[in-house]
């Protein structure tokens, strides 16, 4: 039996007195594309932060690609994160940012490889420009190139559509399609319900840190929750 990309049992996370996640059970098979939906404060970002080892679970067992979350270094080798806050340096050029990321991932990428990666997100002509001069959308594209640099088994997308123009939206869609074609796993946390339903084959909806729905996209579209989901956008 194939090792699931994500296996979560009884996951709970507390920040101070507030419980962000309350006993979550979830399994995502390798190769699945999952739309993670829910209103603000439902626990979507907390779940992704735990999966990427940015936060520790308060309770529960979490495994990523079969690796316990406690083995953070090994987990980080399997996961890539694309968040709405691109972690890039304004004083460096796009190419320098990518070179730095490649060195930190321990990759032996040549400059032409990195230029190709920038061209892939539509930043070929801006590769020598400082990121401080970029629009938010261009920064997000650079973040997209950076997140896929190490070719992760599991890619987590946290509100990737924020601040993107039409071309940027298309690039994220293409990235998801590429991830799926390569048999990799993607979890897309978004308020763009239509995008989530169109691009993923399964919906996991959270409400108040608990699982509100888990099933195929078609089933979600027909469920009473779909009507409520309009207010989450």
């Amino acid at each position: 039996m194939a090792i699931p990309a994500v296996q979560v049992v009884g996951l709970a996370k507390r920040y101070g007195h507030n419980w962000a996640l309350r006993g979550l059970d979830l399994t995502v098979a390798a190769g699945e594309a999952v739309a993670l939906l829910g209103p603000n404060g439902s626990g979507k970002s907390t779940l992704l932060r735990i999966l990427v080892t940015a936060a520790r679970p308060t309770l529960g067992d979490v495994r990523v690609c079969g690796v316990p979350i406690a083995d953070g270094d090994e987990v980080r080798r399997h996961v890539g994160l694309l968040s709405d806050r691109p972690p890039v340096y304004n004083e460096l050029t796009a190419l320098e940012n990518l070179k730095f990321a490649a060195a930190m991932y321990g990759l032996q990428a040549s400059e032409s490889d990195l230029r190709d990666a920038l061209a892939g997100v539509g930043l070929a002509r801006a590769s020598g420009s400082r990121v401080g001069t970029f629009s938010q959308g261009m920064g997000q594209r650079l973040s997209l190139a950076r997140a896929t640099l190490q070719n992760p088994d599991l890619i987590l997308l946290d509100e990737p559509y924020n601040a993107l123009d039409a071309e940027g939206l298309r690039l994220v869609d293409q990235l998801l399609a590429k991830v799926r074609a390569a048999g990799k796993t993607a979890i897309l946390a978004t308020h763009h319900i239509a995008k989530g339903l169109a691009l993923c084959d399964r919906v996991v909806a959270l409400r108040d840190g608990r699982l509100a729905f888990d099933g195929p996209t078609a089933q979600f579209a027909a469920s009473p929750l779909a009507e409520e989901a309009g207010a989450w956008a």
Binding site: P86, K99, F100
Partner: protein
């Protein structure tokens, strides 16, 4: 590639990135140079160039106090560089991104340390001749000894400073807390640096210099080893 070589490459990537950012933004360097110049000038005016040091001592009071004044100036100016080194990461969520790269987090500490030591040494190369001119000190003749003491002191200072800068990076009152936390720990480094510099500048009739240099080296090794071992936990959530 061996794991050690890979981690060394990662440390150099962090150092190169920080130095490149500093070269372009000059945020830490300009404030450090301005602060150091102002403090040295203020001491020069306050103590005066002609006040004798005392019956038993040769030279002026300013020359006798110069080792202490120079190191107080350099180390306080250095706090600005240390604070900036993690502030760069906080601006666009970079610190979390650094934490999320696979690999040993010691490489991040080592890279930041190399960058901080380099920035501080460049500042010292500018500040010391300025102090030499202001206080009428013969620095050129004692250059090898002074350079040795400066390198050892800077490594010790930056080792602790980089560690505490990471520890306080997420705190609102970090600019107050950073010097408050690090200077008590740095007392052996400051003491040994001032004593050793004084002995290099004013002569060492009792042969004490070696002991202070050994103390500086021992403290450097202790600080570096301890900070490298516990840095992983500083970056935890």
């Amino acid at each position: 590639m061996t794991p050690l070589r890979r981690e060394w490459r990662r440390a150099l990537a962090v150092a190169r990135k920080d130095l490149l950012i500093e070269r372009r933004a000059k945020a830490a360097f300009n404030s450090m140079a301005f602060f150091a110049g102002m403090v040295l000038l203020t001491f020069g005016f306050a103590l005066g160039p002609d006040v004798p040091a005392g019956a038993a001592r040769e030279g002026t009071l300013l020359q006798q106090l110069a080792p202490g004044l120079i190191w107080v100036t350099i180390l306080f100016a250095g706090v600005l560089a240390l604070d900036r080194s993690f502030q760069v990461e906080m601006e666009r969520g970079g610190l979390e991104a650094l934490r999320l790269y696979p690999g040993d987090r010691k490489a991040i500490y080592l890279g930041k340390l190399i960058a901080n030591v380099t920035i501080m040494l460049i500042m010292e190369v500018l500040v010391c001749p300025f102090a030499g001119i202001l206080y009428s000190l013969d620095l050129w003749g004692q250059l090898p000894g002074l350079a040795g003491v400066a390198i050892l002191t800077t490594i010790g200072f930056a080792a602790i400073g980089t560690f505490y800068a990471a520890l306080t990076a997420n705190l609102r009152a970090r600019q107050v807390l950073l010097p408050l936390l690090m200077f008590p720990v740095l007392i052996p480094v400051i003491l040994a640096a001032v004593k050793a510099t004084g002995l290099v500048l004013h002569g060492d009739p009792m042969g004490e210099l070696g002991s202070w240099v050994k103390l500086l080296s021992a403290v450097d090794i202790l600080f570096l080893t301890t900070c490298l071992l516990v840095f992983e936990y500083v970056l935890e959530e």
